[in-house]
């Protein structure tokens, strides 16, 4: 098995982040990766670049500027009418073309439905290694990207390297890395390298017929919620989730849950937190009737403050929650809602 980097790949230099955007908005995971990419580039002593692809009328320059604010040195931009709205084929062609031309050593993408779709196709085209859903990125002694990821539902971690191939590719889930602080004055724009794809629409087989946005009102947006109240099997039945929704509503938060809740059909899959659900990083996470299985834990242990409510004092959740109430969630939840309500009202009165 070959572990030596062949001579012709030694020229590959620099860290790249694919900046994902759709309908005028950059996915926050891209900025999280710019933050992480900055650290890797500093360790390697190389530049950090963002890659932007989109239609001629999309505001890619503004996105590039934002990328500099978050820590990028440079942006590669491809503008082409066929890059309006994500489709696998033209984006794979575009990203592959840039990589072959400008030869980065590391390429990071968000593990979103777009990033995962694109990364797998690009890595296969380039015949290089791709490490999925990393939770930690580092540079090891040989200047190799050491990408750590959970497997078997989080019960094990493994560190993966790609030694003899370039670029070294990795995807990272939203909210796993910290959002960097933006510095709007940071320029660092060494250059913007513009290019077009030179393809015409009839070259592309797949057509985007429509985009149906999620109804804003009821689509849960767990990943970026600051407050999450989650329930598990300990709530006994679907009706008792009203207590969770009541508290979430009062605090302006989202409702989350464990996998068995989704499997029982009590709540929709978008609310599942964990290894096979969402990774969240709220300021406050309240877990009611949740045992704290490893598959749930990996999705929420990044929360700043975790409160667990469980009847079993030995439930694993108390091993990593910050605060706990040992008791019946059906009694504790309404009492918490009441206490928060009184507290908020008092404070609001004081301010007024």
């Amino acid at each position: 098995r070959n572990t030596e980097l062949p001579e012709h790949l030694k020229a590959y230099k620099g860290v790249w982040v694919f900046i994902e955007h759709d309908r005028g908005v950059v996915h926050p995971v891209s900025w999280e990766l710019i933050g992480e990419g900055r650290k890797l580039a500093d360790k390697l002593g190389c530049t950090l670049s963002g890659v932007l692809m989109g239609g001629p009328d999309e505001n890619l320059d503004a996105f590039a500027k934002e990328a500099y604010g978050f820590g990028a040195d440079k942006c590669y931009i491809i503008r082409d009418p066929i890059l309006k709205g994500y489709r696998n084929e033209p984006f794979t062609k575009g990203l592959t073309k840039l990589v072959n031309e400008f030869q980065p050593e590391i390429m990071l993408l968000g593990a979103s439905t777009m990033g995962r779709d694109l990364a797998g196709s690009v890595a296969t085209t380039l015949q290089t290694g791709l490490t999925a859903d990393c939770t930690e990125l580092n540079i090891d002694g040989n200047r190799a990207l050491a990408a750590t990821r959970p497997t078997f539902g989080g019960s094990l971690l493994c560190t993966i390297v790609t030694l003899a191939y370039r670029p070294q590719m990795a995807t990272v889930r939203p909210r796993v890395m910290q959002m960097p602080r933006a510095n709007p004055d940071r320029e660092g724009s060494i250059e913007i390298i513009e290019s077009t794809l030179g393809l015409i629409e009839t070259d592309i087989v797949t057509k985007l017929l429509d985009f149906i946005p999620d109804a804003a009102s009821n689509a849960p947006k767990l990943e970026y919620a600051d407050i999450i109240i989650s329930g598990g099997k300990g709530l006994k039945n679907a009706e008792n989730f009203k207590l969770v929704f009541d508290l979430a509503k009062l605090l302006g938060g989202e409702v989350g849950c464990t996998r068995p809740i989704v499997q029982s059909g009590w709540l929709e899959a978008e609310r599942q937190v964990g290894q096979t659900g969402k990774t969240v990083r709220p300021k406050l996470y309240i877990a009611a009737g949740i045992s704290g299985a490893i598959q749930h834990r990996v999705g929420m242990e990044g929360a700043d403050c975790i409160i667990a409510i469980n009847t079993d004092p030995n439930a694993p959740i108390f091993d990593f929650a910050h605060f706990g109430i040992v008791g019946n969630a059906m009694q504790v939840l309404p009492a918490l809602t009441e206490a928060f309500k009184t507290h908020i009202a008092q404070r609001a009165r004081k301010v007024a």
Partner: protein, 282 residues
């Protein structure tokens, strides 16, 4: 219509144990199952077969025991089952796995042209979601990931229209056959095996293909040799192990416990208090 569904046999990972000394996964005694996500692909393929006629072939790369998982799919109504099994495939990462599966699909299509390939969204062990896109790229199939609904298949025009989950909404895409679909979970309900299919499955001879039978042209692209990624370390996450600061409801009323809890968290996180007061709707 000829559909190939790729399925993986995986350990039932809720029961996975890690050896305390060697830090390796102990597979002995852990039951093996069809990757749960792949069942949505199997069901969707069977529904297309019910509607348009044709055949469904299930394909798996894995050790000889994976035969059981393929037989299970036959009991649901799949027509053919092929197990690609050879020591030379051991240690494959997703690049090498997609090469082996793509080669096998090419071999299958020599007997009967393939119109659609299905995979699950991801597996529950490797969990990368990379094999589907890899197969599509290698076979030059149109890639449709995270498909939540098949809207329409037009066998005369050889087109397919689907809905796929994207960030913040659903994309409606129309493309040409042959294409590869990675099916989203909870998009259908798996049927029960009927008696005829169960009997058929019990007697069914799964086709066992070694690397030559599978049509592997370049043996340097399979197994460990064909895998660019190298697992350099496997370890158990270190527990945080600072026990939660707990209030016991046996020693207090719910109301007092709740007030006490607010006190605790606002002392530890004063900014959270401001934040909640600001956003709280009373």
């Amino acid at each position: 219509m000829h559909i190939v569904v790729c399925i993986k046999q995986v350990p039932d990972s809720a029961q996975i144990r890690v050896h305390p000394v060697t830090n390796t996964i102990m597979r002995q005694g852990v039951p093996a199952i069809v990757n749960p996500y792949d069942l949505f692909a199997v069901e969707e393929a069977l529904r297309l077969k019910d509607k348009f006629g044709g055949r469904v072939t299930v394909l798996c790369m894995g050790p000889p025991q994976a035969e059981d998982s393929l037989r299970k799919c036959v009991s649901f109504g799949c027509d053919d089952a092929i197990l690609v099994t050879d020591r030379a495939f051991a240690g494959a990462d997703t690049l090498a796995t997609s090469y082996a599966l793509a080669s096998a699909i090419t071999t299958i299509s020599k007997e009967q042209k393939v119109d659609l390939v299905f995979t699950g969204k991801q597996t529950i062990d490797g969990d990368t979601a990379q094999v589907g896109p890899g197969i599509a790229k290698r076979l030059n199939l149109q890639l449709l990931t995270y498909v939540s609904r098949i809207v329409d298949v037009d066998l005369k025009d050889r087109t397919i229209t689907i809905e796929r989950r994207a960030e913040g909404g659903v994309q409606v895409l129309k493309t040409a056959l042959p294409s590869l679909i990675t099916m989203l979970e909870n998009t259908n309900t798996m049927r029960f095996a009927n008696m005829d299919n169960m009997i058929r499955a019990a007697r069914y001879q799964v086709k066992m293909w070694n690397k030559d039978a599978a049509g592997i042209e370049d043996p340097t692209k399979i197994g460990l040799k064909g895998s660019p990624t190298i697992v350099s370390k496997v370890f158990v996450p270190s527990p945080r192990n600072e026990k939660a600061d707990c209030i016991n409801l046996d020693e207090s009323t719910p109301r007092d416990a709740a007030l006490n809890m607010l006190q605790k968290i606002f002392t530890a996180h004063p900014l959270l208090e401001d934040d909640l007061v600001e956003r709280g709707s009373v």
